[in-house]
Symmetry: C2
Subunit: 243 residues, 2 copies
């Protein structure tokens, strides 16, 4: 196949830059490694019927009251938000707990980005927990790809960028890349792999914030590749396993 017929692969480093990218007809991967998209992969792989991402705590409570067998979850400032039942840790959703249930999840950065993407053909979520599944899905789709980092309140963050870099590194031969963000993400990923991912991140803003909340083990979990090899795909308002 000639290079110019390959689909396009780009990386958006912050929701505030999303308008620069043409997502029409593309697959958009929502990336919020710490911890929304990690929790989504874990919950679905462990049997959740679906995950409904919502922006506000109140909306989460209301949806939870309407949907049978639902769990409402979400954190603000590292604690379970008032009125919700559970937090935003992937380890809170083992099979014996989440199997068959609907998880209504409110997060700030990841959910916001997901709702901002308007005209993509397909929206999926990515994290290290489902890295290979996401890469396989993207290649098989044959579509243009935008890797969208949820970032932190619009600020660039290392963990989402490193995951984007891991994807770029794995699938770059299948795409045309004319995007410095993709190049930088790939370089950072390669550089981080020289030590260890979590060691590399220990100096990052989000790692410091979450470890101050006692969540270091959560981050180790989120950094484990392919523990939950599913592709969460958005159908209407729900994320379900792509099959």
């Amino acid at each position: 196949m000639a290079t110019n017929t390959l689909p396009r692969l780009e990386v958006c480093l912050s929701p505030a830059l999303l308008h620069l990218y043409d997502t029409k007809g593309a697959v958009v991967v929502i990336i919020d490694v710490f911890r929304a998209t990690s929790t989504i992969a874990a919950a679905l792989h462990n049997g959740a019927k679906s995950v409904i991402p919502v922006a506000a705590v109140q909306e989460c409570i209301e949806l939870g009251s309407q949907i049978e067998d639902s769990i409402t979850a979400g954190e603000r400032d590292g604690k379970v938000a008032e009125g919700l039942q559970y937090g935003n840790s992937p380890s809170e959703y083992p099979k014996e707990f989440i199997d068959g249930k609907t998880l209504v999840l409110t997060t700030t950065n990841g959910t916001r980005l997901l709702h901002m993407v308007k005209d993509a053909d397909i929206i999926i979520t990515g994290s290290f927990l489902n890295l290979s599944a996401v890469c396989d899905f993207l290649i098989a789709s044959g579509k243009n790809v935008l890797l969208g980092c949820a970032a932190w309140k619009d600020r660039f963050n290392l963990e989402d960028t490193l995951f984007a870099g891991a994807v770029v590194n794995r699938i770059k031969e299948h795409y045309t890349i004319n995007c410095d963000s993709a190049r930088a993400a790939n370089y950072l990923y390669v550089h981080s792999a020289e030590t260890s991912f979590i060691e590399f991140l220990k100096d990052s803003s989000h790692y410091k914030r979450l470890s101050a909340y006692g969540l270091a083990s959560d981050m180790e979990y989120c950094a484990t590749p392919d523990l939950h090899p599913v592709v969460p795909i958005l159908k209407g308002r729900e994320l379900v396993i792509y099959q």
Copy 2:
């Protein structure tokens, strides 16, 4: 000095993210390596009385007609813009040509960012050509610092980020850094230094665009550290050498 009394050092990767940073009372470094801030350093070091950065070609022509001994310069799509006299290459401004003159320069990305910064205490411009001078100035100022990458039409670019990383790498011991963009820029710079800066950039979007215009030698020039060791500082509408 205790860590928490050190001033803050941050990196803004795109003008579209500028609103996330508090620049009040800070030094902002405008970075447009290919080629506005390189040309500014070269012109001032070679004797230009001042450089006036303007956004539009028409404004450039009008100012040029009002100011004695002025040169109007600027490019669009890699060619001297219609109505202007010279281009945006630092090599166009040797001492015998620019000495004593005012350079009215229109550029897209760098000028725009410079005009977007409203409340900084000090605005200077940075490039590899004046890397050490900029670093020395920042440390001596004792102020909070924002390194502002001009990017390319708001898209992240590698060359401006690498320069920001070079500055972070040199001066980080003097600052508190809680900014993943600064960390990433530093990592990318360290990684690029393992090969050579220009080799690293050869795969970047802007390098490809400019080399298609026959400007590869310009980029080699712009990548040379400390060839023009001056600090261009904004006074009113003019950039002059800080003394």
